[in-house]
């Protein structure tokens, strides 16, 4: 909770805009992948990929709603000024905050795990059930220890970025290179969120770096779309 309260005073709602950009990029990619799945239903990977992106986008949506609650509450307290009433409003916000942030964490971690599983063929059904359970437990108990959540995201993103780097080394496509760079930037943003423990300003840097990462992902996707217009000689 501390991390977001600090952000409220530092970014004054800009982080909501940053998260909206991320949600839009993730949703557009998710919708396009779902269309690819409809075009070629034999490739189930498209379906799982779109589910992963929708889950992460859903997580961002909860984060946006949670942030709105914080800003709204802050305004209410200033306007009323009566101790009893302002206390009540804050208490209500705490519950909304906890629920919203819990769903943000669960959906974000689940989405990243689905994405990670796509490149890791060794996982079976029992492992997946266990991981989902651990994700829910981790999301529930990290309310007061934000850095543990960001550490889990950092690990998952790190593994996924490594897979994308291996893929780039294999295919040498420039769109694959953009993808590696975008995911590496998003991974770094979570490292900055963890460094909040050293200095609160790292949250602000993390938000800006994360925005750059999602914009990079948007550029990657636009490049893929442009490729559709190029003719392939055979």
């Amino acid at each position: 909770m501390n991390i977001l309260v600090y952000m409220a005073s530092l970014l004054y709602g800009k982080d909501i805009f940053f998260d909206i950009v991320g949600t839009i990029v993730l949703t557009i990619i998710g919708i396009s992948t779902l269309k690819f799945y409809r075009m070629n239903p034999s490739n189930k990977k498209h379906l799982y990929f779109s589910i992963a992106f929708f889950l992460i986008a859903g997580g961002f949506l909860f984060n946006i709603l949670t942030n709105f609650t914080i800003y709204y509450t802050a305004m209410e307290v200033r306007d009323l000024g009566l101790f009893k009433i302002s206390y009540h409003v804050l208490k209500e916000s705490d519950i909304l905050f906890d629920i919203g942030f819990f769903f943000y964490r669960v959906l974000m971690l689940l989405g990243l795990y689905v994405l990670f599983s796509l490149y890791n063929k060794k996982s079976d059904a029992s492992t997946n059930i266990l991981i989902v359970f651990l994700i829910v437990v981790l999301s529930y108990f990290t309310n007061s220890a934000d850095y543990i959540f960001h550490l889990a995201v950092l690990l998952l993103l790190g593994f996924i970025t490594w897979r994308y780097y291996q893929n780039y080394m294999k295919c040498k496509e420039c769109t694959a290179k953009y993808l590696v760079i975008s995911f590496a930037i998003i991974t770094i943003s979570h490292l900055l969120f963890i460094l909040y423990l050293m200095h609160p300003a790292f949250v602000e840097y993390g938000e800006i770096v994360q925005l750059a990462g999602y914009l990079g992902l948007a550029i990657t996707f636009i490049s893929v779309k442009k490729h559709g217009k190029k003719k392939v000689k055979n």
Binding site: M39, N40, L118, N167, K170, E173, G228
Partner: protein, 90 residues
């Protein structure tokens, strides 16, 4: 090991071959260029005509296959999908 082509892959390859021949190709040439048997070609062509991706016309006792606007649109989406798969390693 070479990966087996899916139905969508074969349709995409056929449309790619037709487009590269300026949107018009002899049926027999399409068969060779798409690596299909006569039976397979007939089945796929039926599907492509049904979906209005191609037109089949007879000229000077030869069958010609013409790609339609709808076929070109599908091919564009197909290329996008292939590039997406390459980029994300799917």
């Amino acid at each position: 090991m070479v990966k087996k082509r899916s139905r969508t892959d074969i349709i995409g390859d056929m449309l790619e071959v037709i487009q590269n021949k300026r949107g018009e190709i002899k049926q027999t040439h399409l068969m060779y260029k798409s690596n299909l048997s006569y039976g397979q070609l007939t089945s796929y062509l039926e599907e492509l005509v049904d979906k209005h991706f191609v037109q089949k016309i007879e000229r000077e006792s030869n069958f010609y296959i013409l790609i339609t606007d709808r076929g070109n649109e599908f091919l564009e989406k197909f290329r996008e999908m292939k590039q997406f798969e390459k980029t994300f390693g799917l």
